[in-house]
Amino acid sequence: MTSDRLLTAYTWAFLGFMFAPLVLMVLASFNDTSPPSVTDWQGFTLKWYSFFWTDDASLRADPVLRALDRDRFVACLGNSVQVAVVVVPLALLLGLAGAVLLTRWQSRANGLLWWVLLSPMLAPGIVLGLSALVFWGRLGVDAGLFTIMMAQLTFIAGYPMLILMARLQRQPIDIEEAALDLGATPLRVFFRITLPFLAPALASAAVIATLVSFENYNTTMFAKGGACTLATEIGAMARNPNGHPPVINALGTFIILATVGVSVAHALLKRREAKAA
């Protein structure tokens, strides 16, 4: 079974390829040098982390941290939260409506609707950002958080739609018919039968939509006008030709930890759901 062993070895190599840059990023976040490096070890430090909470005086004392605008950073993070708070519930709503129509609406126009609703997920992100900018600009709305929300919503709603659709297709229509036959009104059937059935899928969809909204750079970058989100602010640091400050690495380490946590929780959730179904 050498081919099996080869496949296993390749799998580990692939995982190594996926994780190595992340491990290096974490390592560099503890190195007392800027731009971040793992080869030029200047000693262990936590100052790239403490950037986020240390007092102003010690910030000004550091030659690298001095150049960074922490308040702006925090404001941009706040914007990201604000955007996600608006975008995620709306995306769930639109996604649910789309999923219901695409799975249950028997019509010739159904095929067309597939193309329309899926096209934002396929289109290059920049295009969505630009078109939101142009369209809302024409209606007199300046680029800013609102255009970011609209541009993100356009394609993020597609994720809940696909997830809910897969789940809806697995729900036998019989169950809804049985409830109707027992005298329930369609509204009751929806809230008592269909929605609880979709609940785990809605939860996964919310997690994914939040992640996508937070990390989105390509679309947001084009729709943002003068506003910023965490992603665009991180992206802006790339403009420095000397490399970015290791504060980014520290933030990256936070994000990796959070992601690992959420992923494990999500996997457990899915497992429980699989057991229940």
Partner: protein
């Protein structure tokens, strides 16, 4: 629709329909329509009426600047000393300070004034197709210009005359433009417009020998005219980006198929959960972070260079961020997992017994894949390819962060620059729209060839 109402009731159905209408019209179709509209309208400042109007404006400014000039001359003549530098108009008139030297020198009656120099009916207008036309010849104006050698009064008179002519012309053109369709394909035409590339003979010899340039010549994107090299820069960036995106997709498929197979079919389910998690974690980490992670490796004094110089393979650190291959590699790294999951999700629905049955019937491993696994996984492969291709084609963060502007653009950067940096949003809109259309065309052809349908997108979702 009737069955919808029956299962969900009129109120809910109306809500769903309304939500989908808002989504598809307000969020999807109308913005694209606005883009198309913007792409098809000529930029305001490129309209002939705007050119005429700006000529009138320049002439009037010329007169007022000349007036101010005369006033300051008079003041100087009054012998109040060199103390008053007039600031008659808020206009930034160049080299006003140089006025201390009076007009006698060089036969000019005044110093250089930009607006007076531009007060010339023979104003050039470069069309989208590269042809240069002139305002006076095109619209039958007398050829008039303000000459700095003329007496000031003559100059003012000429400028006034030009202003009157230009204003009349502008009014006439505006009226005409208002009735004429405002739409033009000129913005799209800039995409294929050739640009002269100035080169010394030496660099040209080097450039000509390059394979990529020869290929570009073969498809007509780079050619020689009047002894000079011309290139259709927009199309070159577009083509290169699409070729890169296709290569990324192909490479991602080759890399991911074995992984998807391993996790979906060749590992006991209870262990596959952990392998799966190992794929989910890098997938879920913020895209930008994964791009930044690479900078530690490819920087001039990054890990890779440390290894290379340390082992004596290279003497000088390699400038990886100048190499297109680096951007390519990081794009692969960033989007490769979008290939794994669709394939994995479909593959894991395959009954493992089918593989064992095929083995039992004497099929070798490759035949099992070719006849059993690949046909089953085909929708997942198609969806993975489409997702990866579209992400790679629209990549913006990776080239921006990795190359730091040190190498040629990806097309998404070109669109960004047209839109925000050159303030030519009409051309930017045309680029963006054309690019979207092209990408969708490629996807449609691919789907037809692979015989996949959009519904497969829902099927491959876990």
């Amino acid at each position: 629709m009737r069955s919808l109402v029956r299962s969900f009731g009129p109120a809910l159905t109306a809500g769903f329909v309304l939500a989908v209408l808002v989504w598809s019209i307000v969020l999807i179709l109308a913005p694209q329509w606005a883009m198309l509209d913007r792409a098809l309208t000529a930029p305001k400042r490129a309209l002939d009426s705007s050119v005429a109007a700006s000529l009138a404006q320049d002439s009037l400014t010329c007169i007022s600047v000349l007036d101010a000039h005369a006033a300051s001359d008079a003041a100087a003549a009054a012998g109040a000393g060199g103390l008053a530098v007039p600031s008659a108009s808020g206009m930034a008139v160049p080299s006003m300070g140089g006025m201390a030297v009076p007009s006698a020198s060089g036969g000019a009656a005044r110093p250089y004034i930009l607006q007076c120099d531009r007060a010339d009916t023979h104003r050039a207008m470069v069309r989208a197709n590269g042809v240069t036309e002139h305002l006076d010849t095109l619209y039958d104006l007398p050829q008039l210009a303000v000459r700095d050698s003329d007496p000031i009064e003559t100059q003012k008179a000429t400028a006034a005359e030009i202003a009157a002519l230009a204003e009349a012309l502008a009014d006439r053109l505006r009226a005409e433009e208002a009735t004429r369709s405002p739409y033009t394909a000129a913005n799209f035409a800039t995409l294929v417009q050739p640009v002269l590339i100035p080169m010394t003979p030496e660099t040209r010899a080097i450039e000509d020998a390059q394979l990529s340039n020869r290929l570009l010549g073969l498809i007509g994107l780079r050619f020689e005219r009047d002894g000079e090299i011309h290139a259709r820069i927009g199309m070159i960036t577009l083509t290169r980006t699409l070729v890169y995106a296709m290569l990324v997709t192909a490479l991602a498929l080759v890399l991911c198929y074995p992984i998807a197979y391993k996790v979906a079919l060749a590992t006991p389910p209870e262990r596959a959960v952990w392998l799966f998690l190992g794929l989910v974690i890098p997938y879920a980490i913020v895209e930008l972070m994964r791009v930044y992670a690479w900078t530690t490796i490819i920087d001039t004094n990054g890990l890779l260079n440390a290894v290379l110089t340390g082992s004596g393979l290279v003497a000088e650190p390699v400038q990886f961020k100048r190499m297109p291959g680096t951007v390519f590699l990081v794009v692969v790294y960033t989007y490769v997992l979008f290939m794994v999951f669709p394939i994995f999700n479909v593959m894991s629905t395959l009954d493992r017994n089918q593989i064992e049955a095929a083995r039992d019937l004497g099929a070798r491993a490759w035949r099992v894949h070719w006849r059993i696994v690949i046909p089953h996984a085909k929708p997942g492969i198609a969806v993975g390819c489409i997702a990866t291709f579209m992400l790679a084609a629209g990549a913006f963060s990776v080239p921006r962060i990795i190359s730091r502007g040190l190498q040629s653009e990806w097309f998404s950067q070109t669109i960004y620059n047209k839109f925000f940096e050159s303030e030519n949003s009409n051309v930017g809109a045309a680029y963006s729209f054309a690019y979207t259309l092209l990408c969708f065309g490629i996807v449609a052809v691919f789907m037809a060839v692979m015989r996949t349908r959009l519904k497969d997108f829902a099927r491959v979702q876990s």
